[in-house]
């Protein structure tokens, strides 16, 4: 049942945002309805499909399983924060070039998951890619082109050094 709203202040895609939300309001609903960032999609609202994946402090999370109040003071990145103007991020480019989507509904979640995965693992082995995608459901593509897109995105990101060189590589 309804309870008192709380102030929420957070950084979204590098911009300070605030709003009021009941403690029960999910981060996904807060992003979509309160902040108007509708690129984050809801496919199951029980943490299986991954369509609502966003980054909180650079970690991929399911925004349907997190409350908005938990994101208070945190840094959130959504699908809207990836491209610079009309310049797509290499992950987005790769999905486009590989025909890695059909209806497009699951796509923002996949792109965010892949983005987070490649930050951690810029040069994934073939057998690491599919497990990394297994937290996201796509009903259209049969996944093959998404797997191809991950491979291509990794290549593009290595070429453009869009990924910071991991600390382990420097040592």
């Amino acid at each position: 049942m309804a309870s008192k709203k709380q102030i929420i202040e957070l950084t979204v895609n590098g911009v300070q945002r605030d709003g009021m939300a009941e403690p029960r309001r999910t981060l996904a609903d807060f992003l979509r309805d309160d902040l108007g960032l509708t690129g984050t999609h809801l496919g199951c609202e029980h943490g299986v499909c991954g369509a609502c994946t966003v980054l909180v402090n650079s970690e991929a999370v399911r925004s349907c399983l997190m409350f908005a109040v938990q994101a208070n003071g945190q840094e959130v990145t959504t699908i809207e924060g990836l491209a610079s103007g009309s310049k797509l991020h290499p992950v987005q480019e790769a999905f486009w070039e590989c025909h890695g989507m059909q209806c497009g509904f699951c796509t923002p979640g996949f792109v965010m998951s892949v983005y987070a995965f490649l930050q951690e693992n810029p040069d994934p082995r073939e057998e690491e890619i599919r497990p990394a995608l297994s937290g996201n459901l796509c009903r259209c593509t049969g996944y093959q082109n998404i797997v191809n897109a991950v491979r291509l995105a990794a290549e593009k990101m290595r070429e453009t050094s869009a990924v910071p060189v991991p600390a382990s590589a420097i040592e």
Binding site: R24, V48, Q144, N145
Partner: protein, 781 residues
């Protein structure tokens, strides 16, 4: 060349990157749940937890909750939403009238009883909990066996039992066929309930102008014109007072053909409250009540010669339609499609088909990607069983029975003329690529090591959209398109397709640009608004787009091109026949200096018509409604290799190959995406997905933890090989959207059957069932 006498070819056949994608990739797609209107309210449904019960409803407490705008029950909708009555004119079918919200009784777990409209969804769901319903349970009808019992509790009292349709068909001389047979084989195939599971659930936003009386419904639909037509009828709104807009659609796979009871209540609520009302189905509702598919049982009796020739076939089909018929399709129609398509490319001239549809306390039966798919499974399963029983090679059984090019045109059992059917060629190509003898040796070697491996294949044809006779039999209609050139010389193509993954914004633009001679970037495809573009009831589905929508766009482009060339001919003092358009510049062939840009012609037409020769067109617009001509059939042979872990029963698909023929590919990447996506759904359906009811009609798989949609871990890489048999008609594009999902189940099941050395006539095949079939654990009957 795709089209005779045409310059098409610049973009057609190329894997042009989709114009849809940048918006999807950046979160700028606009799906119904992304739409927001001033003062918008949110709806939630109260649904029955009982499969079958009489009910009384008291919503007074919910109505009093702060933030609640209105609560609708069946009583509140009398005179607002008409009772629902699906067309029962199909001979043998009974009317099953019902109301948009359950009135006196509920008929399945998930049956909508009430809808709350509130300031936000959270309050709406709070209010749902405050509605008091007394349930007086009735004996459940949880499946077809109970439904067929005349003593079962009728879901619809006036229907006199739970059989809602029966029909029998026969052709040829079955007595002679069975008398001449060496063997008669009888098998019963049981297919379970699948769920479509588009990643975007159902939903809509209704807005109502209380002064003009106009309703606008933004709907996740694959047939916006049908939605307008039938929703208007339910709400007593004339056509001009209802507009349906389909924004971006997050998948459908047949689910979003329906005009659902929920759509009617949401639209009525906007009219009653005067506020925009949004309803977005949650996943639990979607799995429980959105609609299920494919629960069919078919018994086949085949008269067979010892060489594998099938002389005659008798089929009995029972379809479990669930509790309600979804507007506008009578589920009996699915049995007629199964009957028509089942012979496929085979010579089944002596053929009988007996169909029964039953009503049960389950979610409604809806279309799902190749709604007739069971026909391919049972035919291809039977072919393998015949091979097993007679000690023949499964490929040889197919060679004995599948029509060849030399026999075509071939009049089949249903009276359909089969022409340019290349199923046989796909089979031979697949056999060549599969190198079966080598696999058999490998299999022998691996079996000696205790490994369980198998190979299976399946061949089929699909009406995509089917020949002219097929389309006439199915009431096909025409597919219209409008192509306009605007004053800047750019092009807008209007289609009645409602793309939701099929890429029509790209593929139709490829066709229009190529045919006109314009850059691809100059063409925009507009869809999904009943106030714009032409009318067709169908929308996207039934694999109509590749032939019919593409053909319509092609011919409409020719119309407008003719207008352009007429004007250009007069201006350049040349015969229109000597003109060409390249890169949107009209020129005289061989005289490049005699040229005029398309943009200049367009500007003159719209802004300075007085400067044009007398008799010039006053606007540049081409319209065409294409009936599909001879249309055509797509065909394929799928091969599947499996390895089964004997300790866990897990099935691993080690290789998968599809050899398909859909004619000329407009966009190969799109074709392959459709094929792979369909196969993934076939794999999911056979190995993982199962909508389960218990023996009391309680629904058990209402989350993604219970209803298992395959991930990237379960779907293997899929090899595709293309044949491109020319069509008879000038438009040589055929659909491939449904075939993957149709042909994959028999290929997989035949492979598992081969691996285990047992006959399999059932789906699904989860690990426990595999272990039972292996005899590793006792069968749970």
């Amino acid at each position: 060349m795709a089209v005779s006498g045409s310059v098409i070819g610049n973009y057609v056949g190329a894997s042009v990157k989709r114009v849809e994608d940048p918006r999807f990739l950046t979160g700028q797609g606009r799906y119904v749940d992304d739409l927001k209107f001033p003062n918008m309210a949110h709806a939630a449904f109260l649904r029955s937890p009982y499969p079958h019960a009489r009910i009384t409803v008291d919503a007074s407490e919910a109505r009093a909750l702060p933030g609640v705008i209105a609560v609708f029950t069946a009583a509140d909708l009398v005179g607002v939403v008409n009772p629902i009555q699906i067309d029962a004119s199909l001979p043998g079918s009974k009317p099953l009238p019902h109301t948009a919200l359950a009135s006196d009784k509920v008929r399945f777990v998930g049956d909508p009883i009430a809808m709350v409209v509130a300031d936000n969804r959270y309050i709406a769901e709070d209010a749902i909990d405050l509605i008091q319903v007394d349930y007086d349970p009735l004996p459940p009808v949880p499946g077809m066996d109970v439904a067929l019992d005349p003593a079962s509790e009728p879901l619809y009292e006036k229907a006199g039992g739970n059989i809602s349709y029966h029909d029998a068909f026969t052709c040829g001389d079955l007595d002679a066929a069975f008398a001449a047979a060496d063997r008669v084989l009888t098998e019963t195939f049981r297919q379970h309930r699948y769920i479509n599971v588009p990643m975007e659930t159902r939903g809509g936003v209704a807005t109502y102008d209380t002064f003009t009386g106009e309703l606008t419904y933004y709907a996740a639909t694959q047939a916006h014109n049908a939605m307008r037509f039938f929703l208007g009828a339910q709400l007593n709104l004339p056509g001009h007072q209802i507009r349906v807009i389909a924004p971006d659609i997050g998948g459908a796979f047949g689910l979003k053909f329906g005009i659902y009871r929920e759509d009617m209540v949401v639209a009525a609520a906007a009219m009653q409250t005067g506020r925009p009302v949004k309803w977005i189905e949650d996943r639990r509702e979607n799995l429980t009540a959105g609609g299920h598919a494919r629960e069919d049982t078919l018994t086949l009796e085949a008269a067979v010669k010892n060489d594998g020739t099938i002389l005659g076939l008798k089929v009995k089909m029972i379809l479990d339609a669930g509790a309600y018929q979804v507007t506008p399709l009578n589920p009996a129609l699915f049995t007629t499609i199964v009957r028509t398509v089942l012979p496929g490319p085979y010579r089944f001239l002596n053929y009988a088909f007996d169909a029964t549809v039953v009503t049960t306390n389950k979610a409604p039966y809806v279309a799902y990607r190749g709604p007739w798919a069971v026909e391919t499974w049972v035919r291809e399963g039977l072919a393998d069983i015949i091979a097993r029983e007679l000690g023949l090679d499964p490929v040889e059984v197919r060679r004995k029975n599948i029509i060849t090019q030399e026999e075509q045109p071939y009049k089949n059992a249903l009276g359909l003329t089969m022409e340019r059917i290349s199923a046989r060629e796909t089979l031979e190509r697949a056999v060549e690529l599969a190198d079966i003898p080598r696999f058999r040796e490998e299999q022998k070697r691996l079996r000696a090591q205790g490994r369980v491996v198998g190979f299976g294949l399946a061949t089929f044809i699909e009406p995509a959209p089917g020949g002219a006779e097929y389309m006439a039999a199915m009431g096909g209609g025409k597919e219209p398109a409008i192509v306009k050139i605007d004053p800047t010389g750019h092009v807008t193509a209007y289609t009645t397709q409602v793309p939701h993954g099929q890429s029509h914004e790209t593929t139709l633009a490829q066709i229009v640009a190529s045919e006109l001679g314009a850059p691809f970037e100059h063409v925009k495809v507009v869809h999904g608004d009943t106030q714009m573009g032409p009318f067709s009831l169908f929308g996207t589905g039934g694999s109509r787009a590749a032939t019919m929508a593409s053909g319509a766009a092609l011919f409409a482009t020719r119309e407008v091109k003719k207008q352009v060339l007429q004007i250009a001919g007069a201006m350049l003092e040349a015969s229109p026949d000597d003109l060409q358009i390249v890169n949107s510049i009209v020129s005289v062939r061989g005289v490049p200096q005699k040229a005029i840009p398309l943009a200049q012609i367009a500007l003159l037409v719209y802004l300075a018509p007085a400067h044009l020769p007398p008799g010039s067109p006053t606007e540049l617009i081409g319209t065409y409604a294409y009936d599909g001509g001879e249309g055509g059939w797509s065909q394929a042979t799928h091969c599947c290799w499996v390895e089964i872990d004997p300790s866990s029963g897990k099935v691993d698909i080690t290789r998968y190959l599809a050899v398909e023929d859909c004619g000329t590919m407009i966009n190969p990447a799109v074709v392959e995406g459709q094929v792979r996506g369909g196969i993934a759904q076939g794999i999911g359906g056979v190995l993982y997905e199962h909508a389960i009811y218990d023996e009391n009609g309680q629904f058990l798989t209402s989350t993604f933890m219970d209803y298992l949609v395959p991930t990237a871990m379960e779907i293997p890489p899929i090899e595709i090989d293309h044949l491109e048999t020319p069509a008879i008609s000038p438009v040589n594009f055929r659909g491939v959207g449904e075939g993957g999902a149709i042909c994959a189940p028999p290929a997989i099941i035949n492979a598992i059957s081969d691996a285990l050395g047992v006959k399999i006539t059932e789906q699904p095949l989860p690990p426990t069932r595999i272990l039972e079939l292996m005899g590793a654990i006792p069968a749970d009957s």
